[in-house]
């Protein structure tokens, strides 16, 4: 400990001169009594808000982490039997299969687009465009869900459309 290395008389002299040296110099404390955002550690004060700030990380959360990953993989895996089922089942089951297939496809697309946004326009680097793009994507996905529901209810439905257009 540095404080033990100093003779008691010189420590008192230092303490009289500045309140900083009254305690051990190895403890982080405000640099001056007036400054509000500087921490003093040996080596110099740490100022926040400069270009030397370390990068920020999102708070760990299973919902946005491992659960999101598992959900994405399970959804992608389920799309394979679902598309197969959509084209081999009888037309009477079509409305239900269409509904499930449409929602799964839209959610799969949304997750894909979201990954692209996070990779290319992350809000940490692009604070305005990143956030605008994320919310635009969410609004577009809502619109697509409504549109797909309308199409499946009021019109022939996704599987019917694809098979009819393919064999037109």
């Amino acid at each position: 400990m540095a404080s033990s290395m100093l003779a008691s008389s010189s420590r008192q002299a230092l303490a009289r001169r500045s309140p900083l040296f009254a305690k051990s110099p190895l403890v982080a404390r405000p640099a001056t009594t007036k400054s509000s955002d500087a921490l003093y550690v040996p080596g110099g004060p740490i100022y926040k808000g400069t270009v030397n700030d370390p990068t920020t990380f999102p708070t760990p959360s299973r919902v946005h982490g491992s659960h999101h990953w598992s959900f994405e993989r399970l959804l992608s895996a389920s799309l394979i039997p679902l598309t197969g089922a959509a084209f081999v089942t009888s037309p009477s089951v079509h409305p239900v299969v269409d509904g499930i297939l449409a929602v799964s496809l839209v959610v799969h697309s949304h997750i894909g687009f979201d990954s692209m946004l996070v990779d290319y326009v992350h809000p940490r680097k692009f604070p305005v465009i990143g956030r605008v793009a994320t919310w635009t994507l969410r609004a577009a996905t809502v619109g697509v869900l409504v549109g797909v529901y309308n199409f499946n209810t009021n019109d022939i439905g996704l599987t019917e459309l694809i098979s009819k257009v393919w064999h037109a």
Binding site: T50, V51, S76, L105, M116, A140, V144, N150, N154, W166
Partner: protein, 182 residues
């Protein structure tokens, strides 16, 4: 004897310090005179601490960057990966675009109209359109399965990645032909 005023020294004063040294007065070394004269001609500007970030960002825009995408050799790994993202994005744009078009213009984009439109096209247009739709779908589906294999830990070697990559390409070709001729 020259009188030197302490405190603020004007340009005139420093000029006189350099050039009008008379005999008997204190001599200033030439080095000190030069330094003293040059600092007097610098104009400084007061900036807030927040300006440092703006100056740095302006500097960064002027800096050159090393080439990266332009010089890295395209390989099966990277090409298939970005290709998977690209075709997935394209198919999703198609899905999103058509759904939003149907949402806002249900009259013009309804199912019967699209079927009629498709049947009226010449054969070669139909085959081209089917290929353009089937190939990305087949590639994305097969590469998706390859990704799912990786997620359970299979084929996670360089050899495995390349073998599955070629298998996906072969499978895409076969599936596209099957789908187009369906």
């Amino acid at each position: 004897m020259l009188k030197y005023t302490t405190g603020t020294t004007s340009r005139l004063m420093s000029h006189s310090k350099i050039y009008s040294l008379k005999g008997g007065s204190r001599s200033i070394s030439p080095l000190l005179q030069k330094r003293h004269a040059s600092t007097k001609s610098i104009r400084t500007q007061s900036l807030p601490p927040s300006a440092s970030v703006d100056i740095l960002n302006k500097q960064r825009l002027l800096r050159p960057t090393s080439p990266h995408l332009a010089i890295y050799k395209p390989q099966l790994t990277s090409v298939l990966s970005i290709g998977n993202r690209g075709v997935g994005g394209a198919l999703s744009v198609l899905l999103y675009g058509s759904s939003i078009a149907y949402l806002f213009f249900p009259g013009t984009f309804d199912g019967d109209y699209l079927i009629e439109l498709a049947s009226g096209l010449p054969d070669y247009v139909k085959y081209t359109a089917k290929t353009i739709l089937a190939a990305p779908l087949a590639f994305h589906a097969l590469n998706g399965i390859r990704h799912l294999f990786w997620d359970v830990g299979k084929f996670m070697t360089l050899r495995g990645v390349y073998q599955t990559g070629y298998a996906v390409l072969a499978g895409t070709a076969v599936s596209t032909i099957v789908l187009v001729l369906l």
